[in-house]
Structures are given as structure tokens and as C-alpha cells.
Symmetry: C2
């Protein structure tokens, strides 16, 4: 089959690799990928921020059709159209049951290895072995229309990561919200906040094309300023004290600092930006302002069943974040387009 | 009048000082103190952890009877028995209204200065001027029985600070909870968690007398181990993953680290320990576990009206944390008893 491999800094290639096989655990399935995509976090190794020692498979977001299941798989069968979360989880352990499948006691990652140490496929390929088919995969009731594929694909990661930012930030009916970051996750957080009933949503963005999507998704205000100026603008908009929730969708020390200082006293920062460079949070600031901080790697598998019906009936269309579509064999161009911010998020079709 | 002054490290004196006068703002009241007490945070300057350059008034927790009010005071009148929060707040600004009087835009501190820069009295004295009488003071409907004084006094700070830890930790019906810290605030947090419906409450304590109070207050389990051993013990007690909420009532880097690593994935740390030495929170750990952190200086004025009826009808008796009572003139002995952990918390009577 064909799959994407990262060879080194800005060196992405589409190559022939061996088809995946069932591993022998009895719990896995092979899925033929209908659509995959490039994540902002894929750009870190692409840009060389994290080094690549040898060619490796990449990508962790996909939807597709089950080709084959192992003997102990009960809920998923060949022919099912499925949504995979960006990680592998058992669905049965204490952490999975309590709502945090990202802390599954048998956790595995795509493009890396599963709980048992078997290598796993990257999602940017024609076929992917899913180690816990019953725990990880969500079956879509019928074969979806092609027009729904982008929105269904966002349930693999990006929209539900934005949703996790909003949930972690405590967004509820009537909340006032600011979103730091205008990438695909930040835009998804705008849509998620709108869906949860936020009354006023400020998108922090200085790019016209992204401001336009933010507005489509429900942003009521745009603030282009950053840092101290951005904070001052936000305070001004909300009684001089700031919004209830700030959704941090970047992951740098600067963006987290801005988020923490923007929220009103007693407000909450919901964060999903992968901490880049290990920023630490100042407890003194949190103590004096009572601004809480909550978030992390999004347990998308725990959210997908709640959101899926709204995508299927067309009332929620998070797939709008995909503004570039590429053949899997053109993955190099998809990465370059994301890297150069020519597209918000690139969809890949095998 | 007589008041307590801190002169330097372990040098507390009871002295004659000038009676307070109304300041001219029109908003203040003079209160005759019925009971005050010593806070764990008073021990920091007492121990010389924070330096004392010149003799200063001290104490911030008190209940008493209003002697005199300024012309614009409308809700409070001479003769009222009142509970003061440990800070002064206006009760009317955006932050006071949204639930965080500790971020009042006209905030002041006892034993320091008010919003207008006038010096303020410490609570450990016979009379205290309250800068915003209407905003800060809660009037008790009738003169309370003497037996209720200790419990009413806990609504000035300690019980409601424990309550804030529990609220910030997201404690609700059925929660599993661990409390780090067996001082008066930690014990109050046990009682607050019980009141909020926690199903299982672990007190982390190695002192028999404090374990006994924790058990009276509703602790179902005691763990004497600290650090990695304490964390392992907690994980074992809760499905191998840890409790839902960990209430951090100490404020050191070690105690916060223990709290953060004890909570289950997706759990929450509620913290009220004043950060000592400015510990910072590791975002990587929070990101990977989804453990949230929320808390800070407790907005007790926003909680007192909810809790007061339960104290007045005797169904809640947080005053049990006072296990030593001293005359105001014996403040030096009260401080020594707290410092040497001979008492959990010292009550002072003028």
C-alpha cells in the first residue's frame, strides 16, 4: 500500500510500504482509509522542532471502512464506516470509563506503537491497523455521503479537541469566551463554544481568511492585538474584568500567559495547545485571581457519540476548517501548504 | 484599646493603641470584636519567613458587634452582630457581583490598608474599623449564643477557605476526595467535602489528634504516608487511578506536586494553600493527565450567606477546629501554641 513517511526536516514522501496485518491479540481491525489529514502537531517534526532519526510513518486522524477484524472484535465488522480517535484505547479500563480514554491503561498511538509494543500505522496511508477496534472505533450507522466526510473526519481530532477546550474552560449557556489561536483547533473551539451556548465569543486573529471562518463559526468579535494589548482589549470588552473563559489553542508560553491574564477573576482557561517547550504556570497569579486552568490531550473518543448525530443531520459542519484537499500521493504539498499557512488544514484522500 | 502587634520574629505583644475612628469615606463602621483568632498565614511573619521592619498590627479573622456606622452605611447598624471576611470588599463592583469579592475593585486588607490608602486595624484587637461596612459585613439575625461563636468565627476565613478548596476541586455528590494538609484549613476542607456529598474522603495526616478531628468531620480514610508513598497509597484506594478531587491546603511546592500527581486523569486539584516560595505548575503533566487546577484566595464573603443558616441551626459545627482559647492579652502564648503545633487553631477573646 501507499503511505506517507517523514524522512527529516521538510522531507515528506509518499511511498510503497507493506500492508498491515492483524497482530494476533484478537482485538484489532484493518481499516481502509477514506480520508486523513495533517495536524498542526505533525508540523513540529516536519519543521525539525522535534528531530527525526530515521524515516517514520506519520498522521493520526482518519475515517474509513473496516476491511478485516480479529476474532475477539464484537462491535465492529467488515464494511462498517468508522471514525478513529487520534489514539488507540481499550474502552473498558477505569480511565476509559470515567471519560478520559486518553489515559487508557492500554493506550497506544498511531504512527508509533500500540500497548503491546507492536508498531502501528500512521493515519496518512491507505490502510491502518487499529489495535483496539471495539474500544477505539465509532461506527457510523450508514455509509455517509461524500459531502459529510470532512466534518466526520474532524471527529477524529480537530473539532473534538476544540470542544475539549470549551468543556475544559467551563463554557456553558451565556458564557463570555475568548479564543487564543486561529488555527484549525482555535476555529473549532469557536464553533464548540457557540454550540455550548456561549453568548459572546471573541476570536483572537490577525488573518482575514481565518477571521472569516471564525465569524461563520459564531465569533461575535475579532481582536487582532496580542500580548498586553490583546489583554487590554479583552478586559475593555467585558466590564473591565475580562471574559469568563479563555480557550488556549496554541501551546506556547506566550499564548498561555496571555490566556491566564485575560480571564476574569474566578474565570477559567481551557487549554489544548500541546505545551511547546514545557511552559510552567505561575501559581501566585492563579492564587490571587482564582483563574483555573484545565485541559490537555482531548479524550475525543468520549465525545464522539454525543456530537456525531449533529454532524450526520447537517446541523453542525465543523469540516469547514478544511480549505485544502490533496491526494495522499501529494502529501508533501499538503504539508508545505499548512507550513506556509496557505491553508488552515489539509485533507488527504488516498 | 488593646491590640496585638508583631514586632519581629517570634515577638508578639499585646499593647495599648489608639481607638479607630471613622475615616470620612462615609462607608465604614467600627466593630467591637467578640472573638478573633490566629491564622496559619500569621505564622509566616511570626516565624520570620517574611520580614517585619517595624511593629505592625496583625490578624484578619473576627466576629463582633457594630459600635458605630458612617453616614452612608445602610445595611448594617449599631448593635448588629456581624461576621467579617478576612478582607474588605465593596460588594458592588463587577468582581464582587460575579462571585469573587477577593478581587474587589476596592479591595483592602486588615492590618494593612484600605482601598483609599487609610491604615486598617488588625483583627486581633478590641476594635476594628471595617472600610466597606455594607459590602463586607454579614449581619447575624440575632445575638448568637456564646457556644456558637467559634463556628461563626470560622465563617470569617478558615471553614469557608476549606469550602473554597472543595468547590474549586469540583467536589459534588458522590465524589472521591483526598485532602493534603491537616491544619485547620485542611480539616475544614474535609468537613466541606462531606457537606457537599463526597462519598469517600481521605485525610492525609500523621498526627493522631488531627486524624481524630478529620474523622469527626467525615473523613472515611486516613493516609499517613507522604510524597511518592502517599500517592501510591491513594492510587491503590481508587481503582489504581486516584480520587476525583485533591484539595491542596498547604501551599508548598511539595504538597502541590503531591496533589497534582494524586488525582485521577481528568480529576481536579482545588488549592487554597498560599503558594510559599512561588511554586510553578508543570503544564506537561497537566496536559497529559487532564488534571485541572483551580483555587486561590477564598472569596468567603460570597459563601457566608449560604452556609450561615446551617451554623445557626447547629447542623454544621466547623468551630471544632479551635482547640485552644486564649485571652487577647495572651496572644504571644496563642502564637507559640500554634507555632509548636500544640493546638490546631487558637481562638482569642478580648
Amino acid at each position: 500500500m501507499r503511505a506517507t513517511l517523514l524522512h527529516g526536516e521538510r522531507d515528506i514522501r509518499s511511498e510503497q510500504v507493506a500492508d498491515p496485518q492483524l497482530s494476533g491479540t484478537g482485538k484489532d481491525a484493518i481499516v481502509r482509509v477514506t480520508a486523513a489529514c495533517v495536524c498542526g502537531s505533525d508540523l513540529w517534526p516536519y519543521r525539525g522542532v522535534t528531530p527525526t532519526d530515521e524515516p517514520r510513518r506519520i498522521g493520526h486522524e482518519f475515517v474509513g471502512v473496516v476491511e478485516e477484524v480479529a476474532p475477539d472484535v464484537a462491535k465492529v465488522k467488515a464494511g462498517d464506516f468508522v471514525i478513529a480517535p487520534f489514539y488507540d484505547c481499550c474502552g473498558e479500563c477505569a480511565n476509559c470509563r470515567i471519560g478520559f480514554t486518553t489515559s487508557c491503561l492500554e493506550l497506544g498511538w498511531f504512527g508509533s506503537q500500540d500497548h503491546w509494543g507492536h508498531p502501528t500505522d500512521g493515519a496518512q496511508g491507505e490502510l491502518v491497523r487499529v489495535p483496539h477496534a471495539d474500544g477505539a472505533l465509532t461506527v457510523v450507522p450508514a455509509q455517509p455521503d461524500d459531502a459529510l466526510i470532512p466534518s466526520l473526519l474532524t471527529l477524529s481530532d480537530v473539532f473534538l479537541t476544540g470542544h475539549h477546550a470549551a468543556v475544559s474552560g467551563g463554557v456553558a449557556q451565556g458564557s463570555t469566551v475568548a479564543v487564543v489561536g486561529d488555527g484549525a483547533v482555535g476555529l473549532s473551539a469557536v464553533l464548540a463554544a457557540k454550540r455550548l451556548g456561549a453568548e459572546r465569543i471573541v476570536a483572537m486573529s490577525r488573518h482575514a481568511s481565518r477571521q472569516a471562518v471564525a465569524t461563520e463559526f459564531g465569533a461575535t468579535d475579532i481582536v487582532a492585538e496580542r500580548g498586553d494589548e490583546g489583554i487590554a482589549a479583552l478586559k475593555d470588552m467585558f466590564d473591565g474584568i475580562g471574559p469568563d473563559a479563555v480557550l488556549e489553542c496554541v501551546g506556547t508560553k506566550e499564548s498561555m500567559d496571555q490566556a491566564l491574564r485575560s480571564a476574569r477573576p474566578g474565570g477559567q482557561v481551557g487549554f489544548v495547545g500541546v505545551p511547546n517547550g514545557g511552559p510552567e504556570l505561575p501559581m501566585r497569579t492563579m492564587f490571587s485571581t482564582n483563574v483555573g486552568v484545565r485541559g490537555g490531550v482531548a479524550p475525543v473518543r468520549n465525545y464522539v457519540e454525543e456530537i456525531l448525530p449533529e454532524v450526520l443531520d447537517g446541523s453542525l459542519a465543523p469540516g469547514r476548517v478544511f480549505d485544502g484537499e490533496f491526494a495522499l500521493s501529494d502529501a508533501a504539498e499538503a504539508y508545505a501548504a499548512m507550513d506556509e499557512r496557505r491553508v488552515i488544514k489539509a485533507l488527504l484522500r488516498p
